[in-house]
């Protein structure tokens, strides 16, 4: 399944793009998607534990990804 992952802040700068597309074999989980992103983008290779979100809500790595889901990964937040 083809999955597009939104990236923010330092991750976006490291990748040079606000999103990255990866192809992931079943079963597609957030963990598997992120592993594919790390392989695709060497600058993110050291990021083993990003914060992950599915459809604009925090989600665990084992969350199943369905076609059309909005997936995002980002570093620890620092608003305020």
């Amino acid at each position: 399944m083809k999955v597009s992952v939104l990236l923010f802040a330092r991750y976006q700068e490291a990748a040079g793009s606000p999103h990255v597309e990866v192809e992931v074999a079943d079963p597609v989980t957030l963990r598997a998607v992120w592993e594919a992103v790390r392989q695709r983008v060497p600058a993110l290779g050291a990021e083993e534990r990003p914060i992950l979100a599915c459809n604009r809500a925090h989600a665990r790595p084992e969350t199943a990804v369905r076609p059309g889901d909005e997936i995002a990964a980002f570093p620890p937040v620092s608003g305020g």
Binding site: L6, F8, A9, R10, Q12, E13, R49, I51, L52, A53, R56, A57, H58, A59, A72, F74, P75, P76, V77, S78, G79, G80
Partner: protein, 142 residues
């Protein structure tokens, strides 16, 4: 739910937040302004840049609104956070909470800013005389 939960790319307006929370059955409005500080960890900061995952950030702000309602019994909450480049002294975040009495309003305001800093997908980048750095705070999504 009522309330005002917004990521904005221009100056934050206190009157907008006050209008969103004020009402005749509320005797207290507590506000918190976060402002851009000129130093961090011993370094001089020239300006700040905020980035947000806007769609999710506004969802999570609404979630904080639900938490405030459950814990403090008031729906009258406004949270506004800026993105883009901010000068020293500018307001980056504004929280306003109205409640019948001061104790709930003050406690809810303190709770809301701590939750925002812990879970809302917003990031700041500090710009120094000689470079810049992303600040990364809370590591959990809980």
């Amino acid at each position: 739910m009522p309330g005002l939960f917004r990521i904005v790319d221009g100056p934050i307006r206190l009157d907008q937040a006050m209008e969103a929370v004020a009402g005749p059955d509320r005797g207290a409005i507590a506000t918190f302004h976060g402002t851009v500080r000129d130093h961090h960890a011993g370094r001089r900061v020239m300006r700040l840049e905020y980035h947000a995952y806007t769609a999710m950030a506004e969802e999570v702000l609404r979630q904080i609104g639900q938490e405030v309602r459950d814990r403090f019994g008031t729906d009258h909450l406004a949270i506004l956070h800026r993105t883009g480049t901010l000068a020293i002294g500018e307001t980056s975040v504004l929280i306003a909470v109205a409640a019948p009495h001061r104790a709930e309003a003050l406690a809810a305001c303190a709770y809301a800013i701590e939750r925002l800093k812990a879970i809302v997908p917003i990031w700041k980048k500090e710009h120094y005389v000689d470079g810049s750095a992303w600040i990364e705070g809370c590591a959990t999504g809980d």
